[in-house]
């Protein structure tokens, strides 16, 4: 038991590691604040485009989305970070992370929003057109508000996944929370910093998980 406390709940190491863990937490929040809006905008553009009638527009977009949903984000990140420099394109760690996360989360948001848009009956946009609204007005005032409402739990869930995803940026040495915790762990040879990082993620994301659990139960129960 003493060994356990020594290894996981070491107060001395916790105090020493907390400044760099705090810096890491700030970076994690910044990463999330960068990735979530960019991914949502990319996803929205992809989803609206793939709702077009023409299959020459729709099919390549579905292919694009499926491609980036099939590739694990870490593989994409390593490819951009370690592979692309061979083609003379060095994005750096932050650039690779930004582009990789944009492609991955954009594809997921696109898939969710596409389902949302499909769930809005065609009559809605036809009625709006008949009332004299322009195409962009139909999207902004009629289709998208209903689409977003219908898939709200999935959107929140994906946003939670995106925040969790930022942890893989540690693999390419972006100094976010997990990276700092691993640095502290390798210096002190003690697991306390990693446990502290886990605790920080939990405190940050627990409210989101609770909210989601309520939204999802309501949605699945509402299917009947």
């Amino acid at each position: 038991m003493n060994n356990f406390i020594e290894a996981f709940l070491n107060v001395e190491i916790a105090v020493a590691a907390s400044p760099i863990l705090w810096m890491g937490l700030v970076q994690t929040v910044l990463l999330a604040l960068m990735t979530v809006p960019l991914g949502m905008i990319a996803g929205l553009i992809l989803a609206v485009l793939s709702a077009q009638e023409s299959r020459w527009v729709r099919w390549p977009l579905i292919g694009f989305v499926d491609f980036f949903r099939a590739i694990p984000p870490l593989v994409l990140l390593i490819f951009l970070y370690a592979g692309l420099p061979f083609a003379g394109l060095d994005l750096g760690a932050w650039g690779a992370v930004a582009l990789g996360f944009l492609l991955n989360t954009g594809a997921y948001y696109a898939e969710i929003l596409r389902a949302g848009i499909e769930s809005v009956p065609k009559g809605q946009s036809e009625a709006a057109r008949a009332l004299g609204l322009r195409r962009w007005q139909v999207w902004i005032f009629i289709v998208l508000p209903q689409a977003v409402r219908n898939v709200l739990p999935d959107l929140v869930s994906n946003t939670l996944e995106v925040v969790k995803l930022t942890s893989i940026a540690s693999v390419v040495a972006v100094p976010e929370l997990l990276f700092q915790a691993r640095q502290a762990q390798s210096v002190t040879y003690n697991a306390t910093p990693i446990l502290m990082a886990a605790l920080a993620y939990f405190i940050l994301l627990w409210p989101c998980v609770r909210l989601l659990s309520r939204l999802e139960n309501r949605q699945i129960a509402g299917r009947r």
């Binding site: 099939a70 590739i71 490819f79 370690a82 989601l212 699945i220």
Partner: protein, 226 residues
Amino acid sequence: MTGWDGFVFSFFNARVAADYAPKIVEGLLLTIWLALLVVLSGLALGLLLAVVRAAGIRVLNWAIIFTVDVFRALPPLVLIVLIYFGLPAAGLDLSGFGATWLALTLVLMAFAEEIFWAGICAVPRGQWEAGRALGLRFLPTLRRIVLPQAIRIAVPPLTNRTIAITKGTALGSVVAVSEILGAAQSGMSFSGNPTPLTLGAIAYLILFLPVVIAGRWVETRFRWKR
């Protein structure tokens, strides 16, 4: 060398590809094996927790809800690192493979429990009452009447979640599991050429693209009509 030749030499180098293809195939088999283990244990544990929760013992339910919340809030990579670097200090030494399996199993367990539980809740009360009125005990009612309906409701959300978590096997490369990504990265550093990484990406596409497309089909096929 022109730009195009340089590009082919770097990313589609036939000689490097021939040298490292066997390693990538080994990695592919390891990825499939790890993914199957995770899916089996994760779904089984998730279903078990949902069934226990259906029994409605309050203290137990709080414990289940809290456990599920923990594993939904923690990034899988954080769990893998914690298990791999932390547990040896607690006297439990897991290999990288074991740590990745355990972490992903716990994550899938949490998501699966939530989805199965939501499915159970979606089955109308009358189904329970009718089963009990016909003289079935709690467990037979659950097994023969409620679960078949609940699982059908759970299939579409569960499919996509399971695919997403299975892709997490790539995280094993961080703790030295030589699955596809691990094999590709060591191939790249040995040969000084990113072709193994291209092979790795292709291997993932071969493995997951059909699954993603099948998932799309399952979602439309099993969706409950509103």
